[in-house]
Amino acid sequence: MIRRALAFAVLWSICTQGEMSSWVIGGPTVGAATLASVVLLPQRVWHWRLRGLVRFVPYFLVRSVLGSVDVARRALHPRLPLAPLLVEYPLRLQDDLARVFLVNTVSLLPGTLSAELHAEHLTVHALDGGVAGVSAELEVLEKLVAALFGTPLVDSFVKTEAARA
């Protein structure tokens, strides 16, 4: 809890460029944010693997630039090239925080947008690319997120086998 309060305090002092008089508002805000984070996420603290991060960050930056260029191209194209579809992607990622992280990165990456997170799968809306293309892209991303959080991927097929045994 002290670590979280400290992190929020650092954020505040960056935002206000260390202005001392701002702490009249900053103090209560940091307190409220800490309280909210403890209530919403009582157990764990963010934990990323360095090796996963080194692989994830360049992938994310390059892909999100390409994604933005792609959307801009489609928006400005006279014929509006779109072939939207919904893809049901079976999740192999088990960890809750890693799943939420995946949902958010999917929304920022080329042509895909997380619509709904279910217990065993993720509904993704895509601008184009077909089911196979979108699923392949998601598979790469899921692997990177798993490496980032240091959490295993479990095939739903394997899981049902294990449940039966």
Binding site: L11, I14, C15, Q17, G18, S64, V65, G67, S68, V69, D70, V71, A72, R74, A75, L76, L80, L82, A83, P84, L85, L86, V103, N104, T105, S107, L108, P110, G111, L113, S114, A115, E116, T123, H125, L127
Partner: protein, 101 residues
């Protein structure tokens, strides 16, 4: 104008272009889902480029941290908001647009 000023101008102009494209997308795309794509992606890069363009001109590291932080917080909130809007649309049965014919 100095080299840094030119760099800054080029980056912020490119950023403004992506904001423009994102706005055109919101106006032209056919349904709520495709419009969300235009908002989250094009505007995200637009803001990133403007932030980079301003970072080039900063005086100290606190300003750099501040600008980078603004970009990260906007990215996180736009991804979350985008997911929530899409989920609400899907939940209330908004059908997705498909090319007619």
């Amino acid at each position: 104008m100095t080299v840094t000023e030119w760099c800054s101008l080029a980056l912020t102009t490119a950023g403004a272009f992506f904001f423009f494209a994102g706005t055109v997308g919101v106006l032209r795309f056919p349904d709520v889902y495709t419009r969300l794509h235009a908002l989250t992606k094009a505007d995200g890069l637009g803001l990133g480029l403007i932030v980079l363009g301003l970072i080039v001109r900063t005086q100290g590291w606190t300003e750099v941290c501040q600008l980078a932080l603004i970009w990260i917080l906007v990215m996180v909130s736009s991804a979350t908001a985008c997911h929530l809007v899409a989920r609400a649309a899907l939940g209330t049965g908004v059908r997705l647009w498909r090319r007619p014919g």
